[in-house]
C-alpha cells in the first residue's frame, strides 16, 4: 500500500518543480536588469569627473523632489553613493518581478486547472504553499544577488576601487528584503483569486500604488506620514548611504513579508479549490 512521503520530501518536490518552472522568468527580468546596472556602473568614472556639474544642477532641484526620487545627497565621486542615485529604478524593476511572481505562484495552478491534481496529492496545502513561497523567495533573492553581482563585477572590471563595499552590499540586502515584501504582498492580495491575469494586474497596481505613496509622501509635508505605509520608504538606497549599513527599516520589511506570508497561508488553507 502506498503512503504519503514526508512533508520535507513533498516540500522538496514542489520546491524543485517551482524553480524549474520559473527560472526562465527570472532570466527574462534579471538579464536586462544586470545589463542596465552594468551600463550605469560603467559610466561612474566619467560621471565622477563631471560630478561638480551635476551637483550644481541637483542643487537647483527642490529638496522634496530629490527625496521623492531618492537622489538626495548625491555624490558621484563615491561608487556606492553614485549607485544609490540610480537605485530606485532597480528596486522598482525587482519589485515588479517579485510582485508578479507572488501574485501568480498560487493563482496559476487554479487558473490553469493544474491545482486540481496537485491539491489531491497526499500533501497538506500548507506544505505546498510554503514550498512555492520558498522557491519564490529564492528567485527574488537571486534577482537581488544578480544585480549585486553585475554592479560589483562591473566596478571591478573597470578598475574602480570601492571605498565602502559593505555599504553597497547593504543596498542590495535591503533591496532583497523589499523584493520579499512585494512577493509576499502579491501572494496575499491574490490568494483568494483564481485568475492570473487579474492577479498580475492587482499586483502591479499595488506596487505602483505603494511606490506612488512614497513619492507623494515626500513631496508634501502634510503627507509625510503616509510614507511609513510604503515599503519603498524603508528600502531607499539614500537611507543606506546615510546609515552606513542596514537601516532599521529592514526589520520592518522582513516583518511585513513574514506577516503577509502567514496570512496568505491561513487564507489559502480555508479556500475552496474549484479547478
Amino acid at each position: 500500500m502506498a503512503e504519503s512521503v514526508s512533508a520535507a520530501t513533498a516540500f522538496a518536490n514542489v520546491f524543485r518543480r517551482e524553480l524549474a518552472f520559473a527560472w526562465r522568468s527570472l532570466l527574462v527580468w534579471l538579464v536586462p536588469g544586470m545589463a542596465m546596472i552594468g551600463l550605469t556602473v560603467s559610466m561612474q568614472p566619467e560621471m565622477s569627473k563631471e560630478g561638480s556639474l551635476f551637483a550644481e544642477k541637483l542643487d537647483m532641484v527642490p529638496k522634496e523632489i530629490l527625496v521623492a526620487f531618492g537622489v538626495q545627497g548625491a555624490d558621484f565621486s563615491e561608487p556606492a553613493s553614485y549607485l544609490a542615485t540610480n537605485f530606485t529604478i532597480y528596486t522598482l524593476i525587482g519589485s515588479v518581478f517579485a510582485g508578479i511572481l507572488g501574485a501568480t505562484v498560487l493563482a496559476k495552478e487554479e487558473a490553469f486547472g493544474t491545482g486540481e491534481m496537485l491539491y489531491t496529492m497526499p500533501v497538506s496545502r500548507r506544505t505546498v504553499v510554503l514550498a512555492k513561497v520558498a522557491a519564490g523567495f529564492v528567485l527574488v533573492e537571486l534577482f537581488a544577488l544578480g544585480l549585486a553581482g553585475a554592479a560589483f563585477g562591473t566596478f571591478a572590471a573597470i578598475g574602480v576601487t570601492l571605498a565602502r563595499p559593505a555599504v553597497m552590499a547593504a543596498m542590495f540586502v535591503v533591496a532583497g528584503a523589499l523584493f520579499a515584501v512585494m512577493f509576499a504582498l502579491g501572494l496575499l492580495i491574490t490568494v483568494r483569486s483564481a485568475r492570473p491575469r487579474n492577479a498580475t494586474s492587482a499586483a502591479l497596481g499595488l506596487i505602483f500604488g505603494l511606490y506612488g505613496l512614497n513619492v507623494v509622501g515626500a513631496l508634501s509635508e502634510s503627507l509625510t506620514a503616509v510614507r511609513a505605509l510604503s515599503p519603498f520608504h524603508y528600502a531607499e538606497a539614500a537611507r543606506v548611504i546615510q546609515t552606513g549599513g542596514l537601516p532599521a527599516g529592514t526589520l520592518v520589511l522582513v516583518a511585513v513579508a513574514l506577516a503577509a506570508i502567514g496570512t496568505a497561508c491561513l487564507l489559502f488553507e480555508r479556500k475552496d479549490i474549484h479547478a
Binding site: M1, S4, N13, F21, E116, M117, M121
Partner: protein
C-alpha cells in the same frame, strides 16, 4: 467499516446551487455510480471527498478518516481522475507522472511504466501537445500509479476514444478484482450500467434514488413489444393496471409496464399474442423515467 461515508453532506454556493443532505455509504470493493446531469452536484461531492472544498455542513469520510481534517493521509490512499484534467505545460508526460508519483512512497515507477504501456501513452510527449483524450489517459495513470485503495473518477470516459474506453473498462475491472473501491460520477449510462454494483441518482443537489443495479431494474418498468392477431383489440391487456404509453400499429403493440410480472404474463396469455419480447429498461430509460416522474411530481 464502510470505505466512503457521506453524512448529511451539504455544500451550498451563492444562488442556492450545490449539494444538500447527502447520505451515502459505499462498502469496500464496490463500484458505485453517481448519476446525474451536468450541474447536479456530482463534481462538488467528489471534490468535498478530496478535501478540495469544505462542506457547509455534514461530513465526508474515506476509510474512516475525515476528508478535510486528515486530507494528506486520506489522499495517499485515494486516486482521483478529474473530469477535465489539465497538465503542466512545458513538461513531458513522463516528467509529470514522475512529479506526481514522488508524493508517494514506495516509488511507483514500475507500475507507472506498466500503466502507460497499457494506455498506449508516449511518455516523451509534452503536455501541451496532447489531445483531451490523451490528457485523460495521463490523469488516469496518475490516479492509479500508487495503487490506491479507493478510486474517485469524475466523468472518466468523456473524451476517450472507444478503444481507450475499452482499456479503461479493463483497468477498472482489474481494480475491482484487486478489491479497490470505485466511486465514479457519470452521465454516460452505458458505462455505469456496465461497471457498477450500485448507483445513486442525484438531481438538483439531492440524492433521489439509490439502489443496486439489479434492484433498480427489477422494481422499475419493463418495455413490452408484442405481435398480436390483428383482430384482437387486446382490451384486457391494455386495461391492466401499470400499463402506460401504449402504441398500436397494426399487429404490433408496444407499451411500458410497471407492476407484477405474473399479472402481465397472465394478461399476455389471454390475448392473441403471436410473439412477444419483454425487455429490461436501460439505465438511461430508468433515469429518464425518474426525472420524468420528478418533473411530474414537481
Amino acid at each position: 467499516m464502510s470505505t466512503i461515508t457521506l453524512e448529511r453532506l451539504t455544500k451550498l454556493y451563492p444562488g442556492g446551487r450545490g449539494v444538500r443532505d447527502l447520505d451515502l455509504t459505499i462498502e469496500r470493493g464496490e463500484v458505485f455510480g453517481f448519476i446525474g446531469p451536468n450541474g447536479a452536484g456530482k463534481s462538488t461531492t467528489l471534490r468535498t471527498l478530496l478535501g478540495l472544498i469544505s462542506p457547509t455542513a455534514g461530513r465526508a469520510r474515506i476509510l474512516g478518516l475525515d476528508a478535510r481534517v486528515d486530507g494528506p493521509t486520506v489522499r495517499a490512499r485515494v486516486g482521483y481522475l478529474p473530469s477535465e484534467p489539465r497538465l503542466h505545460d512545458g513538461m513531458s508526460v513522463g516528467a509529470i507522472l514522475a512529479y506526481l508519483g514522488r508524493f508517494f512512497t514506495p516509488d511507483s515507477a514500475a507500475r507507472r511504466r506498466q500503466l502507460a504501456e497499457m494506455m498506449e501513452l508516449d511518455l516523451s510527449r509534452r503536455a501541451e501537445d496532447l489531445s483531451i483524450g490523451n490528457k485523460k489517459k495521463v490523469a488516469l495513470v496518475a490516479a492509479l500509479q500508487h495503487t490506491p485503495e479507493v478510486l474517485l473518477l469524475d466523468e472518466p470516459t468523456s473524451g476517450l476514444d472507444p478503444l481507450i474506453q475499452a482499456r479503461f473498462f479493463e483497468v477498472i475491472q482489474s481494480e475491482r478484482a484487486r478489491g479497490t473501491t470505485v466511486f465514479f460520477s457519470s452521465h454516460v449510462m452505458s458505462e455505469v450500467e456496465r461497471l457498477c454494483d450500485r448507483v445513486a441518482i442525484i438531481r438538483d443537489g439531492r440524492i433521489v434514488e439509490m439502489a443496486r443495479m439489479t434492484e433498480l431494474r427489477a422494481r422499475q418498468f419493463k418495455q413490452v413489444r408484442a405481435r398480436l392477431d390483428p383482430s384482437d383489440a387486446a382490451a384486457e391487456l391494455l386495461g391492466l393496471a401499470g400499463v402506460r404509453d401504449p402504441v398500436r400499429d397494426g399487429e404490433r403493440l408496444s407499451f411500458v409496464y410497471q407492476g407484477d410480472v405474473k399479472r402481465l404474463l397472465g394478461a399476455l396469455a389471454g390475448a392473441a399474442v403471436v410473439d412477444v419480447t419483454i425487455e429490461e429498461p436501460s439505465l438511461e430509460e430508468i433515469v429518464l423515467s425518474h426525472y420524468g416522474k420528478e418533473s411530474r411530481d414537481g
